[in-house]
Symmetry: C2
Subunit: 137 residues, 2 copies
DNA sequence: CTTGAACCTCTAGTGACTAGAGGAATTACT
DNA sequence: AGTAATTCCTCTAGTCACTAGAGGTTCAAG
């Protein structure tokens, strides 16, 4: 049996966040001591680790909840899990592609003002000017 | 003189968002018609385009505000603008690197369940299992 | 048995918007 | 000039995923 603080240390999820997840229904309400403090078992630990991991992967809480209800599922429900993974992957790839474009542009902007800016630095203009960008964003 | 709707069309920033920016002090309060509707001039249009562009680049509104007050600045203030650009660039690069790691992992997970999952699909387990991941995240 | 750390609930704040209610003004058309 | 459609106004509240703080209680160690 773990206290909320131990659970936090084991998973890396902050204490208020654990309570927040409980509120949202992602974690079941744990047992309580006589003094009303939460006590967790190993199942709760695993579940929270699952949440932590999937959050790190960028899944929104709603999707994580869907996955959690799918646990131990079969047939079509497994297809759902697969779909969620695939969809997240393609979203992620889009995000990366967009960020790479922005990286190029920001690099251009940062270079616009290279050391000597005695008079007028181009950075502000570079920020303002969309015309010189590669593509749309 | 543009109405708020025209400004929205010209910049791609939604009408409520324009009002939100005004509230936050990023856009000056515009002139009003006798009937209390906003009328914008070309300067407002340019300013909003600047905001739009820098937002697309991922700068938080606070940084954009800083840049806006720097407009027409000289000397040290220009260094500030340069700093903001450089800092954003390095943050962006970190973000991209992390996302690339996650992409690898998500791809692994999505593949875990490849078509035939008559019995038990590995997707859920793959999500749960951090041990097989490349690095920390 | 006392101290101090960890715990409790609750409210409110963050960032960057978005949605909706309820009503007034403008524009286009006849 | 009248009417109907569209756009505009303010205001409140909701979103997501937390985070911070107030004010109070319980637990574990010495």
């Amino acid at each position: 049996m773990y206290s909320i603080g131990e659970l936090s240390r084991q998973t890396g999820v902050k204490v208020p966040t654990i309570r927040f997840y409980e509120d949202k229904g992602l974690l079941p309400r744990p047992a309580r001591t006589a003094g009303n403090q939460r006590r967790y078992d190993g199942a709760a630990l695993q579940r929270l680790q699952f949440i932590r991991h999937t959050r790190d992967l960028g899944l929104p809480l709603a999707d994580i909840e869907a996955l959690l209800t799918l646990e131990g599922a079969q047939g079509d429900d497994l297809n759902r899990a697969h779909e969620i993974a695939e969809q997240q992957l393609s979203e992620l790839r889009g995000r990366i592609a967009r960020l790479r474009k922005l990286e190029k542009e920001l690099a251009r902007i940062a270079k616009a003002c290279n050391g000597q800016h005695d008079h007028v630095c181009a950075v502000l203009h570079a920020f303002a000017d969309h015309g010189t960008c590669a593509g749309s964003h």
